[in-house]
Amino acid sequence: MARTIKYKPAGNLSWLVSTIYIIFLLLPIYWLVNMSFKENSEITGAFSLWPQNPTLRNYMVIFTDPSWYNGYINSIIYVALNTTISVLAALPAAYAFSRYRFLGDKHLFFWLLTNRMAPPAVFALPFFQLYSAFGLIDTHIAVALAHCLFNVPLAVWILEGFMSGVPKEIDETAYIDGYSFPRFFVKIFMPLIASGIGVAAFFCFMFSWVELLLARTLTTTAAKPISAIMTRTVSASGMDWGVLAAAGVLTIVPGALVIYFVRNYIAKGFALGRV
């Protein structure tokens, strides 16, 4: 019997708190979805809680106009590039931090952290000039490298957290069995922290996907991300609310799709691998 003794969190109304909070979170999103299925005349003309004449026109505009859907393709390209670079570079570094002490390790770790905390606004101008000097402006790789500023430190922290959970005896046994370091790392160690790699990749994907300032500063046309194309439409073409809403809804979709897989690790990721 003793096992079933549990403190009910704050009485029987506890579900109400979560429900109210979730409704508060979903209302603005619902409003955007609602708008994305309306004609512009309906949005500005009549106020209605759900679309009276549901239409797919707004989504058709995005899927048929290259200047719109190329934005999504650009975003996905640089996000994928950034995730790959960040995780590959962070893997050996995280291993070093979790297993060894070396000259200046703490200073280096701190320096990495400051980059995660640095305001992108500080870097906008120098990045523009640096990448201009290398002729990289308006390329996907420029944005991917710029986002490494905060994603590489993040990936190192998260991976270090997961690696520290793997007992050191496993490394030592493998070395005694005659494994070389690269072979041990790829064949034995990486499968052990597969979930950690997944979580690190997810967080790199996410922070690269949500960032706008650097992505917008470093691109003009050929690599313009979808989020920057959206801001331009708001100011220029006479407020096409329906298309704006549809574009917004489509930027939410990728995150909403993958979030289920990392739901149990999301707190750990935000806490820089330290929960």
Partner: protein
């Protein structure tokens, strides 16, 4: 874990070092360089010494933006931390409700920041937004484009909407790590709901709360995109935070010197905060 001393580990860190040097150290050097020089164009630069720093530290605009930033961060923490704890305490602990809550609550965290701005820009409009329309129907005079106070309320509510889930998730992760035995012992001792929170749950959440407070403080301190999209820094300058002011000076007006000096002051503040963060984290690591 016991770590061995091995300087060859530097080779493993090398890729990260080069990458971050390219994307952080070199740009930062450029900023330092600009902050002590003046230019009249044509790439001709003159030594300006600490003039720009004098200007920045004596400009009312900078201090006002800094004050707005501090006020904003303070309000954000005062609302999001207690609210986050409260919601985390009331979240379901098992069953189908858990994944549903986790996924739905994490949703705002994955929305691109300017889309967050767009969502609230639309949501708050009196003519087409649910919030603005409802408030107007209730006879409340609300217009975030015209009224500074309404603009502030909108930006704060937007940030609460956007980031409270981060606090909730971190606290929840701390709460589920408490073994059942603790609650059983409390029950036997006849502990009140408040003592359970004060002596069992709060100490267990201390570490994650620390992370939540520091992360929320730093991220709200460098907020840019969301208020920029919703208010553009206005009405007047009422929601012009440091980041917005900085980007305006650097990319908008191309005032390299003042922008660079401002970047450095801003960065030093962040560096100080990061140092506090790091010290606190590593010392709490050592406690465990």
């Amino acid at each position: 874990m016991e770590k061995t001393w091995n300087n060859k580990a530097w080779f493993l860190v090398l890729p990260v070092l080069l990458l971050v040097a390219f994307s952080a150290a070199i740009p930062l050097m450029t900023v330092v360089n600009y902050s002590v020089q003046d230019t009249f164009g044509n790439n001709a630069f003159f030594w300006a010494g600490t003039d720009w720093f004098d200007d920045i530290l004596h400009s009312a605009r900078f201090w006002e933006a800094l004050q707005r930033n501090l006020l904003f961060s303070f309000i954000i923490l005062a609302i999001e931390i207690p609210l986050g704890i409260f919601i985390a305490l009331n979240m379901p602990k098992k069953g189908i409700g858990v994944p549903v809550c986790l996924v739905l609550m994490a949703l705002p965290l994955l929305i691109p920041w300017n889309v967050v701005g767009t969502i609230w820009q639309v949501f708050g409009r009196v003519d087409i937004g649910l919030l603005g329309h409802t408030l107007a129907a209730l006879g409340i005079d609300y217009n975030y484009v015209r009224d500074p106070l309404d603009a502030w309320i909108t930006v704060v509510v937007m940030d609460v909407w956007h980031w409270t889930s981060l606090v909730v998730l971190l606290c929840y992760a701390g709460l589920v790590s408490i073994p059942d035995a603790y609650y059983q012992a409390a029950k036997i001792d006849g502990a009140s709901r408040w003592s359970v929170f004060r002596y069992i749950q709060l100490p267990k959440m201390k570490r994650v709360l620390l992370i939540a407070v520091l992360l929320r403080f730093m991220d709200s301190f460098m907020i840019y995109t969301e208020p920029f999209v919703v208010t553009g820094g206005g009405p007047g300058n009422s929601t012009t935070f440091l980041s917005i002011d900085l980007v305006k000076t650097a990319v908008g007006q191309f005032d390299l010197g003042p922008a660079a000096a401002m970047s450095i002051v801003y960065f030093l503040i962040i560096l100080l905060l990061s140092w506090i963060f790091y010290t606190v984290m590593t010392s709490s690591d050592a406690d465990n």
